[in-house]
């Protein structure tokens, strides 16, 4: 059957996320971006919503099974509130979910409960590399098998909370195939740069991390396939994009219904109204692609990864277009930072690159 309504359980969770996102994340977003600082209190509160915990089986300290559908519903709501905040809250998932998906029993037992059971702590992962054609399936960071382990070499960037991370999953090409490696902090040969500066996400501390002959033990290798991990990252990226786009869309609708020009509200002008209609259509179409891909991931369908790729492709174009038009609808007001749309537009362009910053 087809269905387009969340379950009651999902609804309750999503409602809670939506409330937090609107009242906490959104209200803090502007200052966080401007002052390049996200209140830890906020991150903790988001963590306490228990999204990751609900995706983790109880044997590892959680209280549920991972559902990508639930995950993308939540991610959209978080993205709707504030992208930087959303990513910060979700960062420990970058560590936990890949282990859950691709790790062995011992890795799960060793690592997951310590993250899941306490308050939010900086566990992260390093995927993105500083090259224009960065390809998660053709990494320049390499892992070489040596006696009793592997040696990692390469440069990662856009690594959230790298400076304080207690451990991270580092992705590297092992015989040309992308694999995750669990790397603990203060390991010899790993160097974390100063905080990097991007076009947006100023609230989120991100770093470049260099690995020079970093020796990790055999037990650090996540043996499972990277594909479902990447697919999970892609649907998450798409869902966050839908959230940001919806934020911009709703803001622009509200503005257009309030703003007078030439004796009417600007929303009453076809030029504006048609833009809003198209924005609505495009958001909805990407949302449905995202939902379907997430559902396929949950059902372990063969083409799930394919669909996840399509969803994030669609999302990247859609969110750029929607946020750009939101700024356009606000005109001069869209260009000044008192209104959030310009930040969403800056967020918007990033989704072409953000796959790897979050996973549900």
């Amino acid at each position: 059957m087809y269905g387009f309504t969340p379950t009651e359980e999902q609804k309750m969770l999503i409602d809670a996320v939506a409330r937090f996102s609107k009242s906490d994340l959104r209200t803090a977003a502007h200052a966080a971006e401007e002052h390049k600082n996200l209140a830890q209190r906020l991150v903790n509160k988001g963590w306490e919503l228990g999204l990751l915990q609900a995706s983790t089986p109880d044997i590892y300290g959680g209280f549920g099974e991972r559902s990508s559908v639930t995950g993308v519903l939540a991610a959209e709501e978080l993205g709707f509130g504030d992208l930087a905040g959303a990513i910060a809250i979700m960062t420990p998932g970058l560590f936990v979910l890949p282990i859950l998906l691709a790790g062995n029993e011992q890795q799960k037992t060793n690592y997951i409960p310590q993250v899941i059971e306490g308050s939010w702590r900086p566990f992260t992962s390093a995927l993105i590399e500083p090259s224009f054609d960065f390809d998660p399936n053709a990494l320049k960071t390499t892992a070489k098998k040596v006696d009793n382990g592997f040696v990692l070499n390469g440069v990662k960037t856009y690594v959230p909370f790298a400076n304080q991370a207690e451990a991270m999953v580092v992705y590297a090409a092992l015989d040309g195939v992308t694999k995750g490696f669990i790397v603990s902090k203060n390991i010899t040969g790993m160097e974390v740069s100063d905080r990097i500066k991007l076009m947006s996400l100023n609230a989120l501390p991100m770093y470049r991390v260099t690995f020079k002959d970093v020796k990790v033990p055999e037990t650090s290798l996540l043996e499972g396939d990277f594909e479902p991990v990447l697919a999970g990252m892609r649907v998450t990226n798409a869902a966050l994009a839908v959230g940001v786009a919806r934020a911009a869309f709703e803001y622009a609708c509200g503005y257009a219904k309030e703003r007078d020009a030439f004796g009417v509200k600007i929303a009453q002008k076809q030029a504006i109204a048609f833009m809003l209609a198209e924005m609505g259509v495009e958001i909805e179409s990407t949302r449905l692609l995202t939902w379907e891909a997430a559902w396929k991931l949950d059902m372990a369908k063969e083409d799930a990864a394919h669909d996840a790729y399509l969803a994030t492709t669609s999302a990247s174009d859609m969110v750029m277009s929607v946020t750009d038009r939101a700024v356009q609808i606000l005109g001069g007001h869209g260009y000044i930072r008192d209104h959030p749309v310009e930040m969403w537009m800056r967020n918007g362009r990033g989704f072409a690159t953000f796959t790897g910053l979050a996973i549900v």
Binding site: T5, P6, Q268, F274, E284, T286, A305, H306, L310
Partner: protein, 423 residues
């Protein structure tokens, strides 16, 4: 309730069946029918007349929404209907085969749908029974006029009650009547059809005075004056119909014969659009999918592989195009499915319905245009079907409300505006 994306068995079976029809009865004659504009593919029409009965649909119910039927069916009482979903899938597959031929599938089309939606039980029985007969039978909807397209309030056709004979006397000009010839003119191979004509019974009342009338085939005073030559969907007859004092029995009016100063009647017609727009959108997706699949097949034959999963920086231009086409087709289909699912679940879907039509009209145009471009000299050649689908596709963004009208509807829904607030 839950979020899921899987066709139930009956839908899968219907798709399988109609894929066979498309492969065997439609595609092989597509080109020939396109080249011979006013010929009729009797093989397909007769086959479908039989096949639909075999499929248990047979009448207007098969190709027009039939909520009544489902809610009357006690076995379906417990789970939500899938009638619209089934229908959308059937139409998508037929359009994948040949959207022009789909438009002349017997069963009553939009004409029967109007009776189904606005007629009394007696009228339904009287007018719709014929679609279960041996002969393929057609009905058509006559709404558009030379000076009244999207702006249905400009309809000038008048229906005046002759109190002596208790007949409606109808005069006006209708254009763009799909299957108008097959529904009204005498064809020995076909059963007797009818046309549903929109007219005003009280011009001073504006839209509140609009009614539709069932006019039986062959009624004196009514004449098919022209069959349009079109860019695409050439196998589908698009008629101009002139009504000059046509006399229609009193009881052939759909809805109330008296005018209340509300637009309920008219809103009924608009509600029909909520039901039909996702179905039209489904046909657009069918054409788009046909083009996409053909492009992939033709490229594969040339040794071109599409690599998925790569960053855009590593894609070829063709790969990027094909991936975008795939995104378009897939997302448009999901929007159709959501709109019809809502209809099946009795949720108001005016927004989703128009959204799906906007999307489908948009993507089928883009996908078929890109398909022809990608195949270069081959795409443009009538030796292949891509160029035909390019021509067939464009109507999707025009009929059942242009892309512009549907954007207006979407915007009004989003903004909470009335028609007068957002013109």
């Amino acid at each position: 309730m839950t979020i899921e994306f899987e066709n139930p068995k009956p839908v899968e079976q219907a798709r399988f069946l109609l894929q066979t029809v498309a492969d065997n009865m439609m595609r092989p004659v597509s080109r020939e029918m396109d080249e011979n504009e006013h010929a009729i593919p009797f093989g397909y029409v007769e086959f479908m007349n039989t096949a639909m009965k075999a499929m248990g649909s047979g009448s207007a119910g098969s190709l027009a929404p039939s909520e009544g039927k489902n809610s009357d069916d006690p076995t379906r009482a417990k789970r939500p209907s899938i009638a619209y979903q089934l229908l959308a899938n059937q139409l998508e597959m037929l359009a994948w085969g040949d959207v022009g031929m789909y438009l002349i599938t017997p069963g009553g089309g939009l004409g029967a749908a109007a009776v189904q939606a606005a007629g009394s039980p007696e009228q339904r029985e009287k007018f719709l029974a014929r679609f279960n007969g041996e002969k393929p039978t057609f009905a058509a909807m006559c709404m558009t006029e030379p000076q009244a397209g999207s702006d249905t309030s400009a309809i000038r056709t008048r229906a005046v009650l002759d109190e002596n004979t208790r007949e409606w006397v109808i005069t006006g000009e209708k254009i763009f009547v799909t299957a108008g010839d097959k529904s009204f003119n005498d064809h020995p191979e076909f059963g007797k059809g009818f046309i549903v004509v929109w007219a005003s019974i009280d011009p001073s009342a504006g839209r509140a005075g609009m009614r539709s009338f069932v006019i039986e085939a062959g009624t004196p005073g009514v004449k098919v004056t022209k069959l349009e030559s079109k860019m695409g969907i050439r196998v589908s007859d698009t008629a101009s119909i002139s009504l000059d004092g046509a006399r229609v029995p009193f009881e052939n009016i759909l809805g109330s014969p008296t005018v209340e100063r509300t637009t309920t009647g008219f809103k009924g017609a608009m509600a029909t659009f909520d039901a039909t727009r996702p179905l039209v959108a489904a046909t657009g997706v069918g054409v788009a999918r046909a083009a996409l699949e053909e492009v992939k097949k033709m490229l594969a034959d040339q040794g071109v592989t599409i690599h998925y999963g790569l960053p855009r920086q590593k894609l070829s231009s063709i790969e990027k195009d094909v991936i975008e086409m795939e995104v378009m087709v897939k997302s448009a289909w999901l929007m159709v499915m959501k709109a019809v699912w809502m209809a099946d679940n009795k949720q108001p879907n005016a927004l989703e319905s128009s959204m799906s039509k906007v999307k489908s009209g948009d993507i089928v145009t883009k996908v078929t245009q890109k398909a022809v471009e990608i195949l270069g000299p081959l795409g443009y050649d009538r030796e292949f079907l891509l160029e035909k689908w390019f021509r067939d596709a464009k109507i999707t963004d025009i009929y059942e409300g242009t892309g512009q009208i549907n954007r207006l509807v979407v915007a009004r829904q989003i903004l909470g505006y009335s028609g007068s607030e957002l013109r």
